[in-house]
Amino acid sequence: MAVAAPGQLNLDESPSWGSRSVDCFEKLEQIGEGTYGQVYMAKEIKTGEIVALKKIRMDNEREGFPITAIREIKILKKLHHENVIQLKEIVTSPGPEKDEQGKPDGNKYKGSIYMVFEYMDHDLTGLADRPGMRFAVPQIKCYMKQLLTGLHYCHVNQVLHRDIKGSNLLIDNEGNLKLADFGLARSFSSDHNGNLTNRVITLWYRPPELLLGTTKYGPAVDMWSVGCIFAELLHGKPILPGKNEPEQLTKIFELCGTPDEINWPGVSKLPWYNNFKPSRPMKRRVREVFKHFDRHALDLLERMLTLDPNQRISAKDALDAEYFWNDPLPCDPKSLPKYESSHEFQTKKKRQQQRQQEETAKRQKLQHPQPHARLPPIQQPGQVHSQIRPGPSQPIHNAPPPQMAAGPGHHYGKPRGPSGGPSRYPQGGGNPSGGYNPNRGGQGGGYTSGPYPPPGRGPPPYAGSGMPGTGGPRGGSAGGYGVGAPNYPQGGPYGANNQGRGPNMMGGGRNQQQYGGWQ
């Protein structure tokens, strides 16, 4: 800062340049933990406004200000849209900053920088994981529309998000959805044909072209992720939870069929095509696997989960899809229910306790060789799972899988139990805490042995009987989607065993930060 000479006013220093100090904010609580620092909920002292502070750690940075933060700031500074998280300002901690041990640190570059964002109450994954939460079709349409609108805006402005996933889609209590976490985002331009890294996008949402090693790609990569999220919202759990890259590709091929020069011209020229070339051709089975979706949803999903990125639907065209213009129409965001914020200090503490218990469960579990720690998929009724699910109060399936590295790590698990959050949606009877999440815990297993039912024995989309709490650990029904809302099959297999799921039910892989989007 320029300091005026004695006797002079310091008028020349324009206050609009340079950053304010983080002391302008009062940190209320930590709401997330990211790769480059913590995320806090904070209050601006002067105005009382609640914001999110995302800390950019500067220590351990041999190359100064992290380029990921530079990318994010550069991009956020140019994007201004109601469906894109707004970077309000950047503040610094006043140097010399003290480090965690309280040692003073004279170097400002080792201090901290905070990005100040508008505060958002939830992220999509967190919201969906709430006990008893089930999205109605108009609500899903409403979120999807906002997601596509925001993404279309990014793409028009030549920004690839490159990490679209539920935990990066933040939702406020006005029902607004905003894209967040542009830490992996990049500008692209048609005249700059530079190679881009294919090591982006959380594995479950990563498109086949990246898995096959392409380094020249465009907005279509984000649209694949949108397709995965779309299906996940309708289906009730992640649809392609691969443990590693080869397995991810296998899962994609099993669902979308194997690529060849006919359905995807040029695929055989991709760098890793020969490494991953499937031994036998497989049929595309999207319509079969998701036949319980309504027709327009399925049409749109088909076009999003198109193997060939050149044929994949764009955000703009997706917004024009029949799905959004047929009854039930997307609802007005403001009409959506308000959910209680998930960041109370107690909640977090609870989560920590739960995590500890979960750790214990994990250790116990590791003594039993069960590679597929993730809860089994509900659409595989009567398959292996009946053997490995002994009883209602066995937390065993909820322990995280041994392999945690590959999957997305995000939001804190939510506290679960009978006290489920407010929901205006019909619930799978007798399973108040049921729902979405049982399968979201870990990311490894469950699915692995065969993500989709073998041909010829597809599960009934809706088990007519409905499982709701008809006793028995599995609701007395061998499977299917025994829940009310047609498009949101969940809760089913676990019948009325909610107390048995106890605290360990959130899985390991995704419990890192509830506020994934803030990282």
Partner: protein
């Protein structure tokens, strides 16, 4: 980069010509003159250029670095922000912002190689990283910069004068020795360079310019500024080395007034 210049921070931050060359009070106190201020900026632009050639980065990175450098001094004094440190740090930051990262230690190595035994140019990695933070603040974290190069190629194509590319490109390079990039939209700078090139090479462009419906007064004003610059610093317009005419002693005298190190 942003698709739309008009919606960009670069556009919104364009300055009035009168606001650009203004000396910061602190520099004035040190007795720095307007002329010396200009000279230091030219000299440091060249320094960035030479450094960039050593570390091998794209043209864009250089242009962005110089823009940062010039933007910083519309807000900060040279007394506080030593240009000898700010210049390489701008290159360092621009290399990140433009996705062709240069390692700090490499930069430090080439600074030493380039400036030899001159202690005043010698900096450690730590200095660069510390200055980087200060620059980010001084720039208010606005890092996207538009340049005339892309517009230049498109316009020349449109005018059917691609044979002027080399010449006009050199002119655009030289505009970074002035503060034009802080004042005018990049495509106007490109047009001014095309205008000069076409006049000097006897190309008839009146009709083409008329069709563009741009304010020719602005284009001509920019062109005049560029020509004045060449005139004043007696550079060789064809080789694009206008700074050749600036004697080392004058630069040193100016920098010594700052005596920051």
């Amino acid at each position: 980069m942003a698709a739309n210049f008009w919606a960009s921070s670069h556009c919104k931050q364009l300055l009035d010509p009168d606001d650009v060359g203004v000396l910061q009070p602190l520099d004035k106190e040190r007795g720095l003159t307007q002329e010396e201020f200009k000279l230091i900026k030219i000299h440091m632009t060249n320094h960035i250029w030479k450094l960039a050639q050593q570390v091998k980065v794209r043209q864009r990175v250089i242009a962005t670095a110089v823009t940062y450098f010039r933007r910083v001094y519309t807000r900060k004094s040279m007394t506080e922000y030593d240009p000898r440190l700010v210049a390489p740090t701008c290159l360092y930051l621009a290399s990140k912002a433009e996705e062709s990262t240069v390692q700090a230690r490499l930069l430090v190595f080439y600074i030493k190689k380039l400036t030899g035994p001159d202690e005043k140019y010698r900096f450690e990695i730590k200095d660069i990283l510390e200055m980087e933070m200060k620059l980010l603040e001084a720039l208010d974290y606005y890092l996207i910069v538009f340049h005339p190069y892309r517009a230049l190629l498109q316009l020349l194509q449109d005018a059917g004068m691609t044979d002027l590319t080399h010449y006009a490109w050199g002119l655009v390079n030289d505009t970074y020795k002035m503060d034009l990039i802080l004042i005018y939209p990049p495509y106007m700078i490109a047009l001014a360079c095309i205008y000069i090139a076409s006049v000097l090479k006897d190309k008839e462009t009146t009709a083409w310019f008329e069709e563009l419906r741009v304010d020719m007064n602005v284009v001509k004003n920019i062109a005049i500024e560029i020509l004045d610059f060449y005139d004043y610093y007696k550079g060789d317009t064809c080789k694009g080395e206008p700074a050749r005419g600036i004697p080392e002693e004058r630069i040193n005298a100016a920098l010594n007034k700052l005596a920051t190190k």
